[in-house]
Symmetry: C2
Subunit: 106 residues, 2 copies
DNA sequence: TAGATATTTAGAAAACTATCTAATTATCTA
DNA sequence: TAGATAATTAGATAGTTTTCTAAATATCTA
């Protein structure tokens, strides 16, 4: 499972949240997604990469297209983490700077 | 209420998540908080500012100290947003780039 | 297989973020 | 009021992120 760090970074960008919103409705190719934004293909590709690195989406090639879809299980894990973080008096994960298993990402 | 954009940016940083974790246990002054990290006072101040800009914490002066505490209501709003975002088939807020009321933050 | 279409990779520029030291502001107390 | 303590603001720098154009890769189809 991707680190919660990557997930939170991924969803802290409005473009990427909108991508996820679109994918929640139905899976789409990179090009179809891009048509919803005012940015170049490579920029879209960069954002899709971050979502993929966070494991929030998965891809499969379909002919010339690469189709993106939501990775439901990671979505649910992330939800659980954030809910805990905001609702508990004491959060589970140590969000600290000292250690992290997945070694300090950025 | 602070924009969800600012909230998500605020919690996408591990230092700031740890600050929030500490404050969940008890309110603390800037200096007490700083003692938990290996960064300078001004850097801590910078992070506290971001948390404050997101309205996740509030401050009150107590003598020479400035005491930080969790802003419970915003915490709960944020939780609700994120839960919706991750659980709904269709998220409520338009996380898009085109408009936003609170005008494009970054 | 040549050309068209879809997407990613490379490399560079601009904007933003985190960090630091030095200086400033606010408050307390002897 | 002078000096000490707590915190923030100013200004600089290093690193990261977002964005772009150009080039490369993969697949389809005539």
């Amino acid at each position: 499972m991707a680190s919660i760090q990557k997930v939170l970074e991924a969803i802290s960008d409005p473009t990427r949240r909108k991508v996820l919103d679109l994918l929640k409705k139905k899976e789409m190719s990179a090009g179809e997604l891009g048509a919803n934004f005012d940015i170049s293909g490579p920029s879209m590709s960069h954002h899709l990469n971050k979502l993929k690195a966070a494991d929030l989406v998965q891809t499969t090639r379909r002919g010339q297209s690469i189709v993106y879809s939501i990775n439901t299980s990671v979505f649910e894990d992330a939800a659980q983490f954030v809910v805990k973080f905001f609702q508990d008096t004491r959060a589970t994960e140590d969000a600290g700077n000292d250690h992290d298993g997945e070694e300090q990402d950025r």
